[in-house]
Every structure is written in structure tokens, then in C-alpha cells.
Amino acid sequence: MTQLTFFEPPIWSVTELTHHVHDLLASDDKLQDVWVQGEVSNFSRPTSGHLYFTMKDSACSLRCVMWKNAAMRQKFIPREGDNVEVHGSLNVYEAAGQYQLYADLIRPAGEGVLYREFVRLKARLEAEGLFAPERKRPIPRWPHRIGIVTSPTGAALRDILHTLTRRYPLVEVVLAPTQVQGDEAPAGIVTAIQALNRVVHPDVILVARGGGSIEDLWAFNDEGVARAIAASAAPVISGVGHETDFTIADFVSDLRAPTPTAAAELSTPDRADLLASLDDMSQRMGRAVQSVLNSQRWKLNRIESRLVLRSPQTRIHSDRQRLDDLARRVEAAFAHRLQVQRVHLTGLDAHLTALNPQSVLRRGYALVSLPDGRPVRSTSQVKPGDDLRIRVSDGQFAAQVRDASPDTRPSD
């Protein structure tokens, strides 16, 4: 009996078994990151926002669920009968004992092939150095001419032209029209880029296309297009699809824009900014000139006030005063001197009068001189018998010396 017990299989609870299956699936890495291709059926999208569908092929089917958050991010929502590729992880919905694919991405079947091509080409061109940052040229700040490679009838061109008119209407625009999807598109895009460089020599080229699926944008993953962009003499701004779309053209261009409108914005300065800056400069000039004027005026005022003190008028007036002053002093001094002179002269006059020989003679003195005219001053000059001339106040006469005797007393 004990032996039988040895070989008895364990008895699981439903939960235990289900957990076991869950763990088995969870432990298989391949199943946690899996792509499945099949046809959609029983598609439902209730108000919860979650997606429920079945994928099937000729023999088997697979239940799938995509939660609302992931569903909202999808660019593509499948319909009944669509052939799709779905990415997700496989596990058990335990309550129902149901394994299912928890999907995070759905795309039309065949895109996988395209995507693989894209990855291969990208790797190849990158290895050649076509995407190198050093290759990328700066976009000119003040473009005169902008070339546009896009469809003449698409929304991309309209958006670009609106944007350029709003931002920088003085730039000249030349369109090189081309198909932007379909088989002829790649050759058309290449021709357009080359023609712009050859005929127009623009300052920058915008390569643009509105949003679409990977197939719609496929022309911009073309190798020829990539090489034409790389070889372009003018720098190229790519604006292809929506924000999240990256094409080979975006990697090889000198600047990638998320949309055609953004490409136009990146190629020009903005008029509003420029006008504000011009206004600011005008104001600065005005203030600077005002400042120069004010400092000149201040200098003039200073000079003026100094001039007033030293003006010719003022100087003449004060000089005149000085002259008057001097004149008065001179007069005064002169008058004084005259007075002094006068006194002096009066004194001299009296003196002279007293000393006048005529006055002396009139007083009774006589001038005695020898016949040769020499005056006789001393008795020693004469002896008795000498002739003398005698001059008195009113004339002269001759005389003779009788005798001479010196005074014994000393003369005065």
C-alpha cells in the first residue's frame, strides 16, 4: 500500500495549477517579448477603453487584450479581418484559466518588413558617416532665398508658406515641386534637391511632407534621397510627418524638424522678435543722443556763467573804473607836487631876489674890477696908482687907488 502511495501523482488545487502555468509562461523570456502575426477577429472596444480581440490563422487562434493606456498610444487600430502584427507578452488570465497575449503594439502586417529594411539602411549609411554631427552645417541666420522640396498641392506647403509670411516675409521662396509618396517619389525628390542647388543656389532647403503611415513616408527612407540630401550644397532642414516620425532623411539632414511648420520656423528669424529689437535700438539711440545733448547743455551753462564774470562789458566797466580811480590819484598826487613845487619856487624866488646883484648894488654896494674885468676882492690885488673900474647900480666910472690897507681884523 505504501508503495502505491509513492507513485501517486500530487493533487493540485486549481489555483496551484494555474499559478504553475503562470510561472511557466512568465519564466520563458521569448514569450515576454513576442511578435505575433495573424488576422483580427472578434474585435471589441468597450467603453472602458480596453481592446479585446482574437488573432487567428488557418489552424489556431489566440486571445488578445490591450489595455486602455496602450490603446490610446496606437497610431493604428485594427478592424475585423485586418492582417496585423502584434507585440506583447503572453500570460494567463487566471480567473478564466485563459492564456492571452497582453498587447502593447499593433501594426499592419508587412510593416515589419519595411521596418527591417529601414533599420538595415540606417545602419549602413550611419557606418558610412552620413549621419555624423560634424557633417551637419549651420543654418544661415539671415536667409535671402529658401528652397522647398514638397508636393505643390499638399498641406505641408501651405503650412510652410503661412509660417514664412508670418515670420520673415522678406525672404524669397522657390518651390521645387515633386511627388512625395509612391514609386516615382524618390527620384522626384532627388531631382528637386539637385535642381534647387543648380538653378537657385538657395541659402537653405526645406524637404517636407505632411503626416502619414510608414508606407506613406517611405520615399524619405530611400537611399538615393539620403545621398542627395548629403550631397546638397545648401544645408537641408527635413520636416517629414509628425513629431514621432523619424525617416532616414531626418538622420542625414543638417537639421531635423518635427513637422513642416517647424522646418519653416527653424529656417528664419521671427519678425515679432526682430521688430521688438529694432524698437529697443531706436529707444537706446534716442536716450544716448538725449544724454549727449544734456551734457553739452550743462557744459554750455558753466561756460556761460563764467563768461558773465569775465565778459568784455564787465571788463570794460571795471577797467573804466580803474582808470577813473587812477586818474583821480594821479591828479591828487600831481596837485600835491605842484603845491610843493610852488612853495619851493616861492622860496627860491625870494632867495633869488635877495641874491640879485642889482639888488645888492641898489643897496649901495659897488662892484670894483681891474681894467681887464677881473673883480677886485682883496687889497692884495692893488697898489696905489692902479686904475680901477667901479660899477654902481646905475652905471660905472674910473677910479685910482690911493692907498690900500688890509683889515687887521679877519673879514667875515
Binding site: 537706446r284 544716448a288 543722443v289 549727449v292 551734457s295
Partner: protein, 79 residues
């Protein structure tokens, strides 16, 4: 700046006019110029600023398209 060096404003590109205008603003703000020079620079600066604003105030963009090796006018389909 010598008056003889002045290119007529209308012959300048936006970029050239703006560059000259910026030099003038710097020179005026240095306050090292005589009153005469300041006034004549100011006038030149104002005319440059007016010219640049005029270029920006254009209502229409000039759009052409390539046709073979030539350029022709481009007619938009809508508006």
C-alpha cells in the same frame, strides 16, 4: 564714421542694415562723440531702423517655382 562711407540705406540687405545699426547704437552709447557726430549718426541710425522695419512689414511673400532650368511665378491653389 565718415559720411562718405555711407551706402544708401535702400541698397543694404537686412543683415547689413542691422549690423550698421548695432554699431551706431554702440557708438552713441559710448558718449565719446561730439554733438555734431552724435546727431548725424542718430539720423542715419533712425533711417536704418525704419528701413529694416519696412522690410519686415511686407504683407506678401515672393514665391516662385522651378520649371526646368527657369523660375516662374507660383500660384497657390487655395485662398
Amino acid at each position: 564714421m565718415d559720411k562718405n562711407e555711407y551706402t544708401p540705406v535702400g541698397e543694404l540687405t537686412y543683415e547689413q542694415a542691422l549690423a550698421e545699426l548695432e554699431e551706431i547704437v554702440t557708438a552713441l552709447e559710448s558718449e565719446e562723440l561730439s554733438l555734431d557726430n552724435s546727431m548725424s549718426l542718430f539720423e542715419r541710425g533712425e533711417s536704418l531702423a525704419r528701413y529694416c522695419a519696412g522690410l519686415l512689414d511686407q504683407a506678401e511673400l515672393k514665391v516662385q517655382q522651378i520649371s526646368g532650368e527657369n523660375l516662374i511665378d507660383f500660384e497657390t491653389e487655395d485662398e
